[in-house]
Symmetry: C2
Subunit: 326 residues, 2 copies
């Protein structure tokens, strides 16, 4: 039996059916404590007979998206999408010329538009994310991503993902992990492209959402997106979203901001060996440098807690050989 | 390459690593139209080059639970759990002796307890399902299942599952399907045992839920179950739950009542070949016979729509060789 197995593996390796573990599964990671801690954790939990062994079904890993898997500067991508949609929809809404926050936005005055605080933001989100069917929204998202470019690099947003994190996702999956996104972003804004870009299927994306309603239109069942918050998957919401959606505590969690802190705390508090990692944005040359003072992706309490608890803190500057895919 | 693949498959078959399709993957199903329709559908969507071929990631199949995967008579299992919990908790609640619906329930008068309608039911559910952490609730559910017996057969509830449906779940999975439960039942009532009993992991269970709240107690993060409805995964709620949780329309859906009708409609309305199946309870000898007039698992509109649309209707009496596992 053992011989047959060995033969099978050899044949499959030749045929390329089974992913072959490269000599280095994380080539865009520089050698150092961060990379080492990842490999040590994965080795521990996947080594049969090890006291830290975790059975495959329990190998759940959760990743924040904005600032953890892709760039969140100079503005959350979904916010840029909402602004672009306001402009695209303006002709259908002549009243927006006289109504805030739309009037400012249409004049290109983002700061003025956002001066209205949470209420202004909610107005923009609902005007651009609700009122259509789920299929219509999905199409709109796909069309936007096909054209939109990052304002600094000119690359499509789906190329503003972090190459080292793509390798990490693949490395975990090859080792039997199920990888999930757990993001404050809108779940239906992510699902149209996460499978292609991250290898993460729609059913493994957890995010914020608005309510939807089942309806029959012209004899055809549809789901209509309503202008009402359903769930905010951020901060204290992340463990709640994880429990609702996954129903099992992760053994590894990856974030970059204080919005991920509760997810990391929830993960760390489980029995047995756990792995928590923060991506620290300290690379002003190749990406951005921000943490305690930033209004986007602030990492303050989380940085202190990571140090106190010995979580892995990744320096983008020192630990990453590459930032974006070539 | 082709030769290598063939060799690899041959070797793996010998070594038993790859599940070998038995001559009959559905031995508890009698030959007939129902069984034939299942096999034909699976063959169509899994045959490479077929116009009906469905790529593996899109092979999503959703199953109702009560009355579809296990018996729901003479009472929904979760209701029995709630009643048993009221009795177990009565000592801590002396006031229940004087308060409905608890007073009636404690006297064994279920009918009297439920006379208060939805409000009474909600009171019983919240008194028994909320107020503890998610971990405490999970333990309570596990302990209850370890002891509780079905009132008619005396078997543990986890043995009151349908053998033909277990075979169907396995048959779909061997053919690349991801199988989900989409039930009106409480998601945290199912997750502690679905993996062992159905081979369905917690993250593939969609159900009704109450709200939970993240909290730190004695320095330890917990999720506390609140006495507030979060989501009802029934009727119009099922397509909503599917979209929220799976984010992809199923290609096959399985139910047994009008509560599943919208899920089947939503599934059927997708492009390409789709499969919808109703389990029809018409076996008064081995199980129960009920449909249009039943207050549990009523199948009325659904039966008409199944006939009109040519969905598969399974006769438990005629199509199933066995009902429960031996």
């Amino acid at each position: 039996m053992k011989l047959l197995l060995a033969l099978a593996v050899a044949v499959l390796s030749l045929s390329g059916v089974v992913p072959i573990q490269a000599a280095d599964p994380l080539p865009s990671w520089n050698d150092g404590k961060a990379k080492q801690s990842i490999v040590e954790f994965v080795t521990k939990v996947t080594t049969a007979g090890s006291p830290d062994f975790v059975p495959v079904p329990e190998r759940i890993a959760t990743f924040d998206n904005d600032g953890c898997l892709w760039a969140e500067q100079p503005m959350y991508v979904q916010l840029q999408f909402a602004f672009d949609r306001v402009n695209a929809l303006a002709l259908q809404h002549p009243e927006w010329k006289e109504t805030e926050p739309f009037a400012s936005l249409l004049k290109g005055d983002v700061k003025g538009a956002l001066a209205g605080g949470e209420k202004a933001m909610l107005g923009i989100v609902m005007a651009t994310h609700a009122g259509m069917t789920t299929e219509e929204f999905e199409r709109t998202v796909q069309e936007w991503f096909a054209k939109a470019k990052h304002p600094k690099t000119g690359r499509p947003y789906t190329e503003m993902v972090y190459q080292p994190m793509l390798e990490l996702l693949a490395y975990l999956r090859v080792n039997g992990f199920k990888t999930f996104i757990v993001s404050g972003g809108g779940v239906e804004f992510m699902r149209p492209w996460t499978e292609k870009v991250y290898g993460i299927p729609p059913e493994q994306v957890v995010g914020s959402s608005i309510k939807t309603k089942f309806d029959i239109r012209d004899g055809k069942p549809v789901l209509v997106r309503l202008p009402e918050i359903n769930f905010i998957d951020d901060k204290e919401g992340k463990p709640v979203g994880i429990q609702q959606h996954i129903g099992r505590r992760p053994v590894a969690a990856f974030g970059n901001s204080d919005g991920d802190l509760q997810m990391l705390q929830w993960t760390a508090a489980g029995p047995g060996v756990r792995f928590c990692l923060y991506v620290h944005h300290d690379d002003s040359d190749r990406e951005w440098a921000y943490d305690r003072e930033s209004h986007i992706g602030r990492l303050d309490k989380g940085l202190d807690e990571a140090k106190a608890k010995g979580w892995t803190v990744v320096s983008m500057r020192d630990d990453w050989r590459e930032v974006y895919p070539k």
